[in-house]
Symmetry: D3
Subunit: 255 residues, 6 copies
């Protein structure tokens, strides 16, 4: 493989290979939820709503620890052709299950469940429009909604004590090799052509939470893996700054 | 019952009993769909997306007639407390079924299925935030998305012939009797206190498509019914003008 | 529209437009249930069985209030062609859901849940044969079965106190406009041809509990609505007398 | 075991051990179906409706052979306490599955599927009231409904040729050992006390189609088995005569 | 019928009509479960695993009695063509339900639930390879796994008292009439050609627990029934000895 | 982190950190399937059965390309406590979905679907006993079963042409950091204590097909990731040799 990180515009939207799409994180886009965020990675739009409730699932009662979980779903026409609703089909699909679990694990990796106490926060990530990278946008946006919900719980006194609940921030980005070129933040048209597709979840301090690399078309070697990880770390560092900015400047939270 | 249509402000949001909440209809809020609309009745926000496909369900093949149907759903945290997802529960609830059927019937009442030809249009109405009147907002917004999808089908040549497909417009509003006072367009706080609750679906020419009056708390008499219908017709006339305005002034449709 | 309430026989079964089909209400048709009724509107036959149990659903515990609910279903060959069983399909259909909810709401509108105390009554309405008007027959018959179940609960001492549990009776009828003529109590052949179809639920005192008018084929105006409501009120008044007669003259209830 | 076939009345309803309950088979109890029967074994009432359709399931197409199948179900309050509907639970229970399969197999044992041709007959057996022996009543009644449906198919010309489709009749009865006494046709109160419970399906010529003996409480020996089979053959011979009588004397079939 | 129990080899695998296939019962084939057995009847292989848990289902609490139940299932490619998984189809099929219930009843027939105390034992019988007789192999193997689980419960002190929990052993075999010849222990190729097929469950003392005879192709008479029962009793007597041997000689149980 | 790849025995089973458990791959363990393998990684036992059928799913018809897919499942008592069956729960869980998809993708990465032609191979991976690493054992064993099924298809002439269908072999192993020490092939006791857990799927030539690293307890850095990948590549190289040996020496395949 000959990879090229610079050079003439290789991408349909004119981006450089190592460039993110325009990312926006809008806090309090709705009134609903103890935290809510509309996150956009280019044309991908995901609504992330955090629901805070006192108490934990039965299997966790009495542990003194809280629980953070997530559910991901797509609206039927988030994509270019309409899909049947999972509610109508009567079952949640494998992809939905897989991404819901990924989002939940990624958030839990930066939460001190002891400090959260016996409270539950559910993050609903509903994709309004999908153009690649929906799971990475969901993680990135959900973390901000989670931060707002935790702040709400602290202001309400539902979270006791002064120990920080969030150990770090977390953000995610996709990377892939398209026509031999490693690229950051793939939109749908690049995603379907990629030989290798990787989703990387990284903390604010730059440590890995999840590395999920997949080769449907062609296996990848150690060098390619390293190049992709470099690209990803660059992207998540930028997303971390966008998250910080959103938390610093957005409207006064509800409560 | 002593009903009072004027007088000092009776409503928590300062509206007169016969006054609609602020209504906005935003066309092309997304890129997805052959028509899409974000409709807002006060704090109620519903995303209505029209999907146009050539062909009809099996039971309609060869009839020369098209099909228009709708699916309504709520995001889990559209309401003040989170509800479990119907996909996770593995079944569509009775209320969801009932409203989906109502939206579909209301739209079909103004569609000439012969003129549509053997094409199908599905209207997905997903409630992003619920504050009463979600089904009436869904009908009102879905009709605009439907109009855009029909126009798209005509531009694409998928709909042949010059016969108009839409016979009229259709809009809907809720009315109810709260503390003895008939009121228009109930938000959630009024809806739960209403003795009688009615949803009225009306064409642009002012004829009824659906009249659904329900008395959970106290039966209602003929006079009350008439007062409520008067209120509703005033509200739907105003919604008809808002729909016309949206279609007249919004951005160029996709095509 | 030119409506004609009199004139030569317009209906296949020789009825006048404002005439009910023969209606019979047979109490104690079975041994099962704390109340049971076989109700017939012409060829439509519905078995309504009331099950009385002490206690209420969890969400109502400690309220001091009872609960009345209903489930409607059709046998697979109640209609002219066989339908698949909902149990075999693994899901309850939208129409079934909608009618079950309607029957339950209609009955609750005349029940004083405080006087019922923390008891639950479930009304199972199973259509043995369907020839139009199954939901209206179900409501009309279920109310009689409910009255018997309440009387049973009082004799057993499960319902304490002397406050009447039933505030009124409730009955229901369908009306519709067929070939421009408003008609009462539509059998299947008229129902499929009706431009407008309305189900009206009315108390013994003549007040409305539900008004559900639907125009799949042609919208209807205020005059048509009024004519239909007049017809319906005439029909439900007659059904009320049939209900009273059934309760007055039928065999001694079980106890 | 000391078994006693005669002697003082041992049974709560005054029957001798080898005596059937009153059995009635009412043909054309409904208008629905190409054959329908209300069968009563004492207080057990089962509605058996036959639906005849041209064509066979996909896996049988082109074989020249027909198909006969059955579905058994109970109304929720057929028993002394109400059961949840299987449609609401979203799944068919094991007992329902097992009995549906038994009824279907029993009927197919006397059908010449070649002579039936590529037609399908579905027998719906819905228990309106259950007092023991519902599966045996279902088989006995369903065979009569099946005979009517086959006659209908022959009159309509849907079944071609003059070969008889029915090779024999089939009837079924339960037997059991209660307090050491073998008994015929157990009602619910005897059924729950039986050590051994057997359902026997027998042709008109007296041959076995199914023998299903079950010992939940105490295993049984060869002598007991033989005594039970003797009892059962006496009962089914009598049921065969009742079936013949029903077919000989009932009202003219539809068609 | 002319039945021949001896004579030249009639069977594809060279067995005499009254001869079992090679039967092996391997205890502790796995580490999992409080008892586990791989049982083989010729090419039929069933894994039977017993799970012992303290406590009983809610409906049995406080009775002082235990509960024994079973679940039967087949791997998708246990048969010559692959079947869809029941988990993927979202429902358990009728045959699976029926056999699970049969296995559970057969085991309970020899268990003293009082002596078991409030403990539950679940027997999972998973067919790894199917060549006829899977349900009879399952019962025969499951009883051995059950015996091991009971012994485990006694060693652990979870089962109190010295009363024997197992009243007897239980084994099962299939018999059938193939081309007029009654045969023992049918493999798949014989099973599909059998006119009559019977599964017989017998205790160690030679009493019947279940007799399930079925005639899909041709009804059977009393003589045939008796011949089949003789064959079955010979087979189960031999299986009883194999069970005893397995319990006597196998490796030390876990505990 | 201070990682130590050598030193005194750190693991409960006495292995070195970079040592695999005993791995066995038994071909033709059953008669079923066009390929079948019992694969064991220590106490983890997975049955992998390949089903070859002519034809492809509808969405692939006419493409000239074949399809390879997989379904993973666990027997209810594969683990130390019994889990409810997914068939009984009526839905496939998220973990099952996720692993089924992973196995399918991993196998497809080394299949030339053009060379396979319009044939489908389904790999059923059923976990008989689980002690960590079930998904990696499933992939490693399934590839061998797949190779046998492809060879069967070629011998039968169902696969035409001489182009190799398999581009390479594929194997998988888990690695993790336990108490600060990177370790290969984690059994259950180590898996639950691991801070980081990674599953790595590698081709025979040593290229990556999947890298799935997860940090539930503590994020991991680049060095740790590299150490884990080194360990994994050592393990998969050894598994590749075991696969080759199994294919070279096992009994003659069926055909």
């Amino acid at each position: 493989m000959t990879s090229t990180l610079s050079g003439a515009s290789l991408r349909s939207d004119g981006r450089r290979p190592d460039e993110l799409r325009p990312v926006t994180i809008t806090r309090r886009w709705l009134d609903a939820g103890e935290g809510n965020v509309l996150v956009e990675f280019g044309n991908t739009k995901v609504l992330c709503v955090a629901s805070f409730t006192a108490g934990v699932p039965r299997w966790r009662k009495g542990s003194g620890e809280g629980w953070v979980t997530a559910e991901y779903a797509m609206l039927p026409r988030a994509t270019s052709t309409r899909s049947d609703r999972e509610s109508v089909k009567g079952r949640v699909g494998g992809r939905t299950h897989e991404i819901s679990r990924l989002v939940g694990r990624s958030l839990r990796a930066v939460v001190d469940v002891k400090a959260l106490g016996e409270n539950t926060i559910v993050l609903d990530c509903d994709v309004l429009q999908a153009d690649g990278g929906t799971r990475t946008a969901a993680i990135t946006g959900a973390w901000v909604a989670l931060a707002d919900a935790i702040a709400w719980g602290q202001r309400q006194g539902a979270i006791k004590g002064s120990k920080p609940v969030l150990l770090d921030s977390v953000a995610a980005i996709s990377v892939g090799i398209v026509d031999g070129v490693p690229m950051l933040d793939l939109p749908y048209v690049e995603d379907v052509r990629a030989d290798t597709d990787m989703n990387v979840v990284v903390t604010g301090r730059g440590q890995f939470v999840e590395v999920q690399g997949t080769a449907e078309h062609a296996p990848f070697d150690r060098d390619e893996l390293n190049t992709l990880l470099d690209l990803a770390l660059g992207g998540t560092a930028e997303l971390t700054r966008t998250q910080e900015l959103a938390l610093a400047t957005d409207p006064v939270p509800r409560g």
